[in-house]
Amino acid sequence: MGGYIMASTINADTTNGVVVTSDTSREIKLQSAGADIATVNSTGLAMASGKDLTLSSTALDASASGIYLGGTASANLLDNYEEGSWTPALTATTPVTSVTYLHRTGRYRRIGDLVYVTGAFQISARSGGSGQIVVDGLPFNVSDELPSTAVEANGNCSYFGGLTVAKSSINVWAFGGTTKLYFTATAAAGSTTMPNFNITDTSAANFQIRFTISYITDA
């Protein structure tokens, strides 16, 4: 049998429990010790000021729209999070013809349109290729946000080995509009510029490298 509950409190203690307000306000309030905890009305569920929404054993599913943080403008909307793997592929500005890997791995975290990637590989054989070292296969396209330059983001290499030319540091940058990373390297004696890191600077038998970079992807 259906019916309506007019303004009332579902509890013997009138300051606790579920408070159903009058028909005109169309609200349901959860209260404790006379204070509002949460209100449900036509706009949704609102926690009272200073009260937290805690999910102890299940995840909040906001996959259809996202979560606003710090405001309700589109610039405040966090609408994507994902983690997974990608497969880095060694090549060069003139592509290599074949590569044999001892190991290779790549991981990514995407938070909104920010992508953080790590990658590592070691080769045991390589043939062909010339020019600057390129690693292809990023999990998301690099957004072309900066005008008049392909250099959209920068990262670094935490480890490298199997070089045929001495380098003091190796850096990596993301090419806008592509899924490619390009590499630069400072010579052991230092440099006033940022020279390219070329495929001929590495051993075809045992070159290895580990790197990280963060970049913006297209929404």
Binding site: G84, L138, P139, N141, D144, G177, Y182, N196, T217
Partner: protein, 87 residues
């Protein structure tokens, strides 16, 4: 008890002015029909890239969106990028 490893292309997205095709492969570890764990692997097909070895669904998307006009436009964009060659 049966444990199965199942890979599926669970998301194909068309992104940006140059219609990059973003592909997500989901790997599920399944025990007696229940998913124990899952993980993602991703890659992207650019407009000027060979997609003949991709999944049929991915190929269909590439054929639809990577038109000659898009490919030409993408190649023009790439050629206009400055590589900051300093060496």
């Amino acid at each position: 008890m049966t444990i199965e490893k199942r890979k599926t292309i669970d998301k194909i997205e068309v992104v940006g002015d140059y219609k990059h095709i973003q592909v997500r492969e989901r790997t599920d570890i399944i025990e007696d029909g229940a998913v124990l764990s899952s993980s993602y692997r991703r890659w992207v097909i650019s407009p000027n890239q060979d997609y003949s070895n991709e999944h049929a669904d991915v190929q269909a998307m590439c054929q639809q969106f990577h038109t000659q006009e898009i490919i030409n436009s993408y190649n023009t964009m790439l050629s206009e990028q400055t590589l900051e060659e300093t060496e």
